[in-house]
Symmetry: C2
Subunit: 283 residues, 2 copies
């Protein structure tokens, strides 16, 4: 069933690109390069699955899902920049600043971030959602992607670049850096389905726990990948702070909590399977 | 009269800051530093004046005006970065990356950009505007600030960094780089006043012409400032392309066209005076 929605996501992500004149078409080439980088589309999938679990039609959440993916794509471009992680490669391809130059990569990130909100506004014309639902999506996404969410997490990450983070700091940082955008995806799916506050709060619980499970699993996978630079740099990870066994059991605990919070939804089988699948992933 | 609205703008810009936890309060320090950089608040003033000219109450446009100013503030931080203009100073103070480091400045810009859209969503609770008006504001601001607007202009600017721009390229670049955000300010003011398409189109005409007049006047002021680096770098400006006399007459022509388009509004005296004042400014 997910193959059809993956297709719909890929189509929507591309069909949502900004309409540009000849002089600025080059910007779209950069956006496409970034959006086609072969990610797993975890966030848009969660958005569509939450819409369905809350009793809505997945197609009504497609624009919301695409907007979240644009935010994710921008965050990867800016994260890779020399002043941040200075990564020359992402998923086996040149990172955007290596491909297009640093200034262009900065602009491509800014363009993706800005356009995410345009896509939320376009949703009103393209799906059965009201202006009020779209504006709620704007409010959630801007809070969870900005200083009170993802950007705040990146700020904490920078502060602890050269010093050890306590377990508390690590949880706060990752809840914001990774969890907040996952939360946006899940909540926007609920908004597209006109879900009430009980379901939206359950979606937040799910997302926060899944976000931590996701990040811990990432750290475990990176620990098992001997070429990884973060470990060589001595950066704090769940494995360095808790050890590999405790980190694995934490990932399982958070996944269980995430799955438990799905009881607020009538039909959440695919969400449960997806959450369990993320924990068991190999890369 | 403008002293009162300048006070209201200053108050709103600060009261709109994101609500942050203790761990991320440092982000707000960076946002405040950038928002307090002593700009002329041209865009929020235009937003409020258009709201009034279209028969609305200025206070209903305050959040829209603040959102435009957040976009302006982000664009200055990212423009100053080493990979862009590499400016160490802005209005006599250290630029954000000199003050806070490059990575933090990147994040501060991202935070301002993201939060601009949050402010548009908050407007519904804080002013007499509907979700539909707020969503129209999101749609306009995201189009005019993004790849089809301001970011597109910056992209063209980068392309012509080391080669001469034709007059056509110069007009296209500045219409996007400077004009688009001015257009957003004017259009959002009209939206806050529930203005119809005739007034909104007139506001666009005004903004496009004023934007060019504004940029040409900037180039003339920079030409007269012998310390300016752009001239030393041989970058194309209206003065280098047209000469100082023709540039001055172009600025006057565009200002006249801007003022003429105000005939669609009943009471546009303050807007006319403001436009004429911008042309005559000395810095």
């Amino acid at each position: 069933m997910n193959e059809k929605i993956i297709e719909d996501i890929e189509y929507t992500v591309k069909s949502c690109l900004p309409a540009l004149s000849a002089e600025t078409q080059g910007v779209n080439e950069m956006l496409i390069y970034s959006l086609e980088s072969g990610g797993k589309r975890v966030r848009p999938l969660l958005c569509l699955m939450f819409c369905r679990a809350a009793g809505g039609k997945a197609e009504n959440a497609l624009y919301f899902a695409a907007a979240v993916e644009y935010i994710h794509a921008y965050s990867l471009i800016h994260d890779d920049l020399p002043c941040m992680d200075n990564d020359d490669f992402r998923r086996g391809r040149l990172s955007s600043h290596k491909k297009f130059g640093e200034a262009n990569a900065l602009l491509a990130g800014d363009a993706l971030l800005t356009h995410a909100f345009h896509i939320l506004a376009l949703a009103q014309e393209s799906a059965e959602v009201t202006a009020s639902q779209c504006l709620s999506a704007v409010k959630e996404l801007s809070a969870l992607a900005g200083a009170s969410g993802m950007v705040g997490g990146q700020y904490i990450d920078l502060m602890y670049e050269n010093k050890e983070a306590s377990p508390e700091v690590l949880f706060t940082m990752d809840s914001l850096k990774t969890g907040a955008l996952i939360e946006a995806a899940c909540v926007l799916g609920c908004i597209a389905a006109s879900a009430g506050s009980e379901k939206i709060n359950a979606a937040r619980d799910f997302a926060r726990n899944l976000g931590l499970a996701f990040q811990i699993t990432d750290d475990i996978l990176e620990y098992n990948d001997e070429n990884n630079s973060d470990i060589l740099n001595g950066k704090s990870t769940y494995v360095s702070v808790f050890g590999i066994e405790k980190a694995s059991s934490l990932a399982a605990d958070f996944t269980k909590k995430a799955v438990d919070s799905l009881s607020a939804f009538q039909n959440a089988d695919e969400l449960r399977d997806f959450a369990l699948g993320l924990l068991k992933r190999k890369k």
